[in-house]
């Protein structure tokens, strides 16, 4: 098997950003990594899991990000180098422990890699985690390309060991999921030994118990560590300046925005007017280095995604040293020079820079834009964001939606994060009516389920995936049961963390490295908690609707487990359960009695409307053979035959 362990020192390889992070961790002598899947972070742990077949490291998909950070911290406490890996929202989950960890400090080098999603391409929010570094007084690094991803990761372990605290690295989608050349270093030959030394006093950093107590002492230590980091930042090769000695404008930037800024300068042809201060160490800012560069120009343009985090730091610092560098004019996301939402790109940066320089810049000819818009409207087939063909979620929400409509009391479903989030759209029959964080649907349903005394008579459901159930739903369910809420949780069990690529979770029988592990049974767990439990195959839409309707009439906490593997899971992919056929001569088509139920409402991508035949047809290539459409077809035109 090819792994990121392949390649010798000095070799140059094309690597994905996440591969480079993983390689950097290995070059640093990482022993333990723990994470929870989430786009765009998942490949780091996945690559290290593959590497674990050839290197002696422990790789874990943890139940959630907080536990992942705790698992990684344990390794650090035992003197090993470790990493916790997650996406930006995961840092929120881990943040409670992270605050305490920052104050207690670490022992073996420990890093947090947070891969973030400006523009929310694969997220339910456009949050970011850099402010946590400031909030918890921890050093923050932001690599700008794949080489830096690898090199900074390695250096982060050294820095962490030096200051005995967690070091945070922030990546973004365009770095984690892009690829570039990386010149490799060597993989160390090490034989790490794990031992937790706890026999000293609590203030003994080498052999004492690791706690946040005594709090004031540890807080002072924490601040001292941060100062130590700043000293190293002043000399860091990851902070560079390129451009004239006396530019009109200095761009201060980091991460993938470095590349956008560089390209913007080139697009506008203003390399002689604009300097580029690229920072790899973005919190705390190294004041001496900053003073040297900020002194060069009167106009400072900060380019970053998502919040004006760097911009605020630069402004504060500039104010502090204004007697030496003079008064500056600031531009960035705060003053609207750059959009305050969504990802950036070279055009947006160029537009912003042109505005500052009094130039005009038009990325795309408006005539072209108009033509493209017109062509998109008329020539491109209409495609909604949709569940895949054969997705069990479509069938599940079909039954849930129909049960709620039949019940007729304006019941609703509280959702959270997973492929099933799409059910707020027509592909899930617009069934989800709240959508927030992992597990929040069930917590919210628990709350709704107590409002009967104020006249609320709408039935309340929540949905969660099997991975989410373990991640964050269990405490919410305990809450609902203990507090006698009236609600029904539907567990959409598709046998894996499907949205991020089938990573295992505690309900699965194998771990990140493929070892056999005990699988926890969701039905047994919820039964033991005291909920009324029902199970159904979501592909049996009539039985499932019946079960949902039954549960809607019951008080207390009910759990319905709808178990059916994801259509794309490795065991199922490419295999059809049924051969599905459609007899166009029987199809009711647009007539009363159907009016294109399958293509207009059910909308599985495997079904297509043939406007000439005025009948539906099955797209053999896309159909995954789940057979559900045969159950919903009112004319009997769709039939299914079990594939032997």
């Amino acid at each position: 098997m090819k792994t990121i362990c392949d390649g010798r020192s000095g070799d140059t390889r094309l690597m994905q950003g996440n591969e480079a992070f993983a390689r950097g961790a290995l070059e640093a002598g990482l022993s333990v990594v723990a994470g929870y899947p989430g786009t765009p972070s998942s490949e780091i742990v996945e690559n290290l899991a593959k590497a674990s077949t050839v290197r002696d490291i422990y790789v874990e998909w943890s139940v959630n990000e907080k536990v992942a950070m705790e698992v990684a911290a344990a390794a650090s406490f035992a003197g090993l180098r470790s990493a916790a890996v997650m996406k930006q929202v995961g840092v929120n989950v881990a943040s409670d422990f992270m605050l305490h960890l920052a104050e207690s400090g670490t022992r073996g080098g420990m890093i947090l890699i947070s891969c973030e999603d400006p523009g929310a391409l694969s997220s339910g929010n456009e949050g970011e985690s850099r402010p946590f570094a400031k909030l918890f007084e921890l050093p923050l690094l932001e690599p700008c390309d794949m080489q830096e991803a690898k090199d900074m990761t390695k250096w982060a372990f050294e820095l962490s060991e030096e200051i005995r605290n967690l070091v945070m690295i922030r990546s973004v989608t365009r770095l984690s999921h892009a690829s570039g050349n990386v010149t490799l270093g060597s993989l160390p030959e090490i034989e790490p030994e794990a031992r937790y030394k706890h026999w000293g006093t609590p203030i003994d950093p080498e052999e004492g118990p690791i706690t946040t107590f005594p709090v004031h002492y540890k807080h002072a230590q924490m601040q001292q560590k941060l100062k130590q980091a700043v000293t190293r930042f002043e000399e860091s090769p990851f902070n560079t300046y390129e451009g004239p000695e006396n530019p009109e404008v200095i761009i201060v930037t980091s991460s993938a925005c470095t590349l956008y800024s560089r390209e913007a300068i080139r697009l506008l042809g203003v390399a002689d007017r604009v300097g580029l201060l690229k920072l790899g160490t973005t919190w705390p800012l190294p004041p001496r280095l900053m003073e040297t560069h900020l002194a060069k120009a009167d106009v400072i343009f900060t380019v970053e995604e998502v919040l004006p985090f760097l911009e605020d730091s630069v402004k504060i610092l500039a104010a502090e040293i204004s007697d030496r560098i003079g008064v500056k004019k600031f531009h960035g996301r705060s003053d609207g020079t750059l959009p305050t939402i969504n990802e950036l790109n070279p055009d947006l940066v160029a537009e912003g820079l042109a505005k500052i320089l009094g130039m005009t810049y038009q990325a795309v000819d408006p005539t072209y834009t108009a033509l493209a818009d017109e062509a998109t409207a008329t020539d491109a087939p209409e495609r909604d964001l949709a569940f895949c063909a054969g997705c069990p979620h479509r069938a599940s929400f079909w039954s849930i939606h129909n049960a709620l409509e039949m019940d007729g009391r304006q019941g609703f479903v509280c959702g959270d994060i997973g492929c099933y989030t799409l059910a707020f759209l027509p592909t899930g029959f617009s069934t989800l009516k709240t959508g927030h964080a992992m597990g929040s649907g069930t917590g919210i349903a628990s709350g709704f389920g107590k409002l009967d005394r104020f006249g609320m008579d709408q039935p309340v459901l929540s949905v969660c995936g099997d991975s989410t159930f373990f991640h964050a739903v269990m405490p919410a369910l305990v809450n609902a049961i203990h507090n006698r809420a009236d609600m029904t949780l539907v567990v959409l069990d598709n046998s894996g963390t499907a949205m991020t690529g089938f990573q295992p979770h505690p309900g699965r029988p194998s771990d990140a490295a493929g070892n056999e592990v005990p699988a926890l049974d969701i039905a047994k767990i919820v039964r033991a908690m005291g909920a009324h439990v029902e199970e159904s195959d979501p592909f049996d839409v009539d039985a499932t609707r019946h079960k949902v309707l039954e549960l809607l009439q019951k008080g207390g906490v009910n759990v319905l487990i709808l178990k059916q593997s994801c259509a794309l899971c490795p065991e199922k992919k490419g295999k059809k359960l049924f051969q599905v056929d459609l007899d166009a001569s029987v199809c009711f088509g647009e007539n009363c009695g159907c009016n294109k139920l399958c293509t207009r409402v059910f909308k599985c991508p495997g079904l297509q409307w043939d406007p000439e035949a005025k009948a539906a047809r099955i797209d053999e290539v896309i159909c995954s053979g789940c057979g559900v459409c045969a159950s919903i077809c009112p004319s009997g035109a769709i039939t299914k035959k079990e594939v032997a």
């Binding site: 039949m406 019940d407 029959f429 009363c592 009016n595 009112p634």
Partner: protein, 370 residues
């Protein structure tokens, strides 16, 4: 008559809370389902015209069109509707079993099945308290569905399903609202080329009101374990109670309380005696063990004649004074309901955009309401 689609049906029936849950919009398409006494639309079908709306007894019912279709006469608003003969009737000696009233409906349907005059009958059975639609094919199965359920029932779901499955020559037994729905269906208002009338016999049962299923269950559930209920009865006046039967015995609830559970839609219904049917059957006030039988059509006439000859039905003349009393009650319901519907604006047909619940010829309305 005017035909609209599912959108208007939801607007004019569900949102006005006029749905009686007869089941006529269910099982003709995938969009309508019935649950606990109410029809629900799962998704809008987007068609401008549909059978769901055209057959619904609570919107755009054109009484004059129905009357012309059935009797070739204009709608005249007569209290009992058009009929050939009124009689007293009860099940004959060939029919075994005990009945709430005279067993006339069971006797006629069982006889028609026995003689193969029909191939199946759409009836209303019960599961506990819940009325359920039943399609029966054997005469012996009829008695199990005998007796009033007192609750609005989705009987016609079984009719639609049977018709879809290709059944023809069906009998259907139903309340006036259900008979109105069936009558509209038989007119094929959407002009479907493949339409075949599946009905061979329409038996209407008298009805003043029915109880709302959900409200009744909620009411009873607060006072007893509703899941233990095996049956219900409202004994003739002056009892003024609802008797609920369980395995352990009976519970009694004052009718004064129970009447509050009548859905608002029953108070706009002008029909007490199921005018759009071949025969209509009801209680015989003051004569226990007998029914009132209205024979309306030739089909009804011949059936009754044969059933009497064969000993399945026993008939007697119906006293004139009883007919007058019945007629007076039916007229009172008509007047009350038209007045009530008019007050809500459900009869308005004064401009193009109006979609009344019932279209009543203005002269009839004027005569009835003064």
């Amino acid at each position: 008559m005017r035909i609209y689609g599912s959108k208007e049906l939801i607007n004019d029936v569900a949102q006005r809370d006029l749905c009686i849950g007869c089941g006529m919009c269910v099982n003709i398409c995938p969009y309508f389902k019935t649950y606990k006494g109410k029809s629900a639309m799962l998704f809008p079908c987007m068609l401008d015209q549909g059978r769901c709306n055209a057959h619904c007894p609570k919107t755009e019912v054109d009484l004059d069109a129905l009357s012309h279709f059935f009797w070739n006469e204009p709608y005249d608003g007569s209290p009992l509707g058009r009929f050939k003969r009124i009689m007293a009737a009860r099940a004959g000696e060939k029919v075994s079993g005990s009945f709430q009233g005279g067993g006339t409906v069971s006797a006629l349907v069982a006889y028609a099945l026995k003689r193969n005059l029909i191939e199946g009958a759409v009836l209303t059975g019960a599961e506990g308290i819940e009325p359920v639609a039943r399609l029966v094919a054997e005469p012996e199965q009829v008695a199990a569905c005998a007796g009033s359920k007192f609750i609005a029932a989705p009987t016609l779901t079984a009719l639609n399903q049977a018709a879809r499955d290709g059944a023809r020559r069906l009998a259907v037994v139903g309340t006036p609202c259900q008979m109105t729905a069936v009558a509209q269906m038989r007119m094929n208002p959407t002009k479907r080329e493949d339409f075949e009338d599946p009905i061979a016999l329409a038996v209407g049962v008298f009805c003043n009101w029915a109880l709302d299923h959900r409200q009744l269950v909620a009411y009873l559930s607060e006072r007893m374990d509703a899941s233990t209920i095996t049956g219900m009865d409202i004994p003739p006046p002056p009892a003024e109670v609802l008797v609920v039967k369980t395995a352990e015995g009976e519970e009694r609830f004052p009718l004064k309380e129970i009447r509050k559970l009548i859905p608002h839609t029953c108070f706009i219904c002008p029909d007490m005696t199921a005018e759009w049917s071949d025969v209509s059957v009801g209680m015989y006030e003051g004569r226990s063990g007998w029914n009132t039988l209205l024979i309306r059509t030739q089909v009804g006439f011949e059936l009754v004649e044969r059933a009497v000859e064969a000993g399945w039905l026993e008939v007697e003349t119906f006293p004139k004074e009883n007919e007058q009393a019945l007629s007076g009650a039916a007229l009172a319901k008509k007047e009350r309901s038209f007045r009530n519907a008019d007050r809500h604006g459900y009869l308005r047909q004064d401009d193009e955009d109006c979609r009344p619940a019932v279209r009543v010829p203005p002269e009839v309305l004027a005569r009835l309401l003064g």
